[in-house]
């Protein structure tokens, strides 16, 4: 069943490829379709698919016209409606997919305003892993109160996927707890994948999404505007994000955030995260570990 769903998502993502490349993509075996993570398109190079073991060439050479068509299909022929994300180098696409782009940056007054002459694209095949947070959520509460939590893993470890599922569970509530109002500050548009105001991923019934907004701006905005019980952010990476998180914690709002670190020891070695630990804002950490079989386990621990 899960395999079928993975294949279905692959086929949905392939719909954004130009027709002649789509045929090659759909000729891949079912097992590979279920495992594929990305389509990679580079001008002059064959269409490739990213599998857990690495990239595999599967189609004809990509032309600039193919990349233009990909952008048209991804934006519903309306790049003007995707200007905000295009200038950041990606497109959020209907169905929850994401297209990363490289090309020539159009600069105005030192700021990248758009991309033209697209030369490479990565179509990320987003797959919701519903239920991965089910066993984790009850462990994030103490005396019925949600504890500020960090999700830790190295890049590609599944932090955003877990964050999304935890947000959904917190927002929906459970048998023994009420659903919480969650404000999700989705700066990179990867957690909720908003397309014209509609989240393409299920983030729960009480979740308000502030899309494409820097965390340092978004956290105070959500605090003022949405009266959240929990604020969720993907990847604390800057001093300003940290300051905003501390401010939110001071207002009694729960925090759920991801950081790039494989464990608490690694966090403590980095200056920014050392300060984050020193502030004592976060009480719990969920470490995501990947077994050799590819299966992920989630270990909840108290932070010092």
């Amino acid at each position: 069943m899960e395999n079928q769903e993975a294949v279905r998502r692959y086929e949905e993502a392939a719909r954004f490829l130009p027709a002649r490349l789509r045929a090659s993509a759909l000729a891949l075996s079912e097992a590979d379709r279920a495992a594929a993570e990305e389509f990679r398109l580079r001008t002059g190079q064959p269409l490739a698919v990213l599998l857990p073991e690495g990239e595999r060439e599967i189609g004809p050479a990509v032309t600039p016209a193919d990349l233009e068509t990909l952008c048209d299909l991804a934006t519903d022929y309306s790049r003007y409606a995707a200007a905000e994300t295009l200038r950041c180098g990606y497109l959020a696409v209907r169905g929850g997919f994401r297209v990363g782009l490289c090309g020539t940056a159009v600069m105005k007054e030192g700021v990248c305003t758009s991309l033209r002459d697209v030369s490479s694209a990565a179509v990320r095949i987003a797959r919701e892993k519903r239920g991965i947070g089910e066993a984790v959520v009850p462990r994030l509460f103490r005396e019925g109160r949600f504890q500020n939590t960090l999700l830790l893993s190295p890049p590609g470890g599944g932090k955003t996927t877990l964050l999304r599922d935890l947000v959904r569970y917190l927002s929906a509530g459970g048998d023994d707890r009420e659903g919480l109002r969650v404000s999700l500050i989705d700066e990179r548009g990867e957690a909720a994948v908003m397309v014209r105001g509609v989240p393409q991923m299920d983030v729960g019934p009480r979740t308000d999404v502030l899309d494409a907004c820097p965390k340092a701006l978004g956290i105070p905005m959500a605090l003022r505007a949405m009266n959240p019980q929990v604020i969720a952010v993907d990847e604390i990476t800057a001093e300003a994000d940290l300051a905003a998180a501390v401010q939110a914690a001071g207002c009694g709002v729960g925090l759920l955030a991801t950081v790039h670190a494989s464990d608490v020891e690694e966090m403590a070695r980095r200056p920014l995260y050392r300060r984050l630990l020193a502030e004592g804002v976060f009480r719990l950490a969920v470490q995501i570990r990947r077994a050799e079989t590819g299966e992920r386990t989630y270990q909840v621990e108290e932070l010092p």
């Binding site: 719909r15 130009p18 027709a19 016209a65 233009e68 068509t69 952008c71 048209d72 299909l73 934006t75 519903d76 022929y77 309306s78 790049r79 003007y80 409606a81 200007a83 295009l86 159009v106 305003t113 758009s114 033209r116």
Partner: protein, 164 residues
């Protein structure tokens, strides 16, 4: 008998002139409709950023038959996932327009990939060219109609004289 024949030939000339006049009028109306369509397109993109296929489907509703077919054909090609230029070109080629007006519209089809500013400029440029063309056609209209009438009637009269 000769008189009846002459009347038939002259009636044929009048019919030919009338058909041509109607065709010219259809071209003018299409051009005017197209200019209004581009004006609305520019506004909607600037103010609402409506996606192009949806916008063309919406705008088709208020248009005359030729522009409605154009909008629906272009939007339909996009719905089918065809490249933007080819869908736009096929739709534009079916419009009853003069060659220079059609080429202005085709050039616009090649500029619809850009950002809002780029597209709005391209729309404004195409709209300006088409408006100039319409203005010129309108200013020459009386003279064109006179010439066409004279040509058809002279041709009819010539045929009558030759047959008699």
């Amino acid at each position: 008998m000769k008189l009846a024949g002459a009347v038939c030939v002259l009636a044929g000339a009048v019919w030919g002139w009338r058909c041509q006049a109607l065709e010219r009028r259809r071209k003018r109306d299409t051009l005017a409709d197209l200019i209004r369509l581009l004006g609305r397109m520019g506004e909607e993109i600037r103010l609402r950023r409506t996606s192009l296929p949806r916008l063309l489907h919406q705008l088709a509703a208020d248009r005359g038959p030729a522009c409605r077919s154009f909008c629906e054909a272009a939007a339909g090609a996009m719905d089918r996932g065809e490249p933007l230029e080819s869908g736009w070109r096929l739709a534009a080629e079916a419009l009853p327009l003069a060659a220079e007006d059609r080429s202005a519209l085709l050039a616009l089809g090649e500029s619809l990939h850009g950002d809002e500013e780029h597209i709005c400029k391209a729309i404004e440029l195409a709209r300006g060219l088409l408006a100039e063309s319409l203005e010129e056609t309108r200013s020459r209209r009386a003279e064109t109609e006179r010439r066409a009438a004279a040509l058809w009637l002279s041709a009819g009269a010539l045929v009558v004289i030759t047959l008699i």
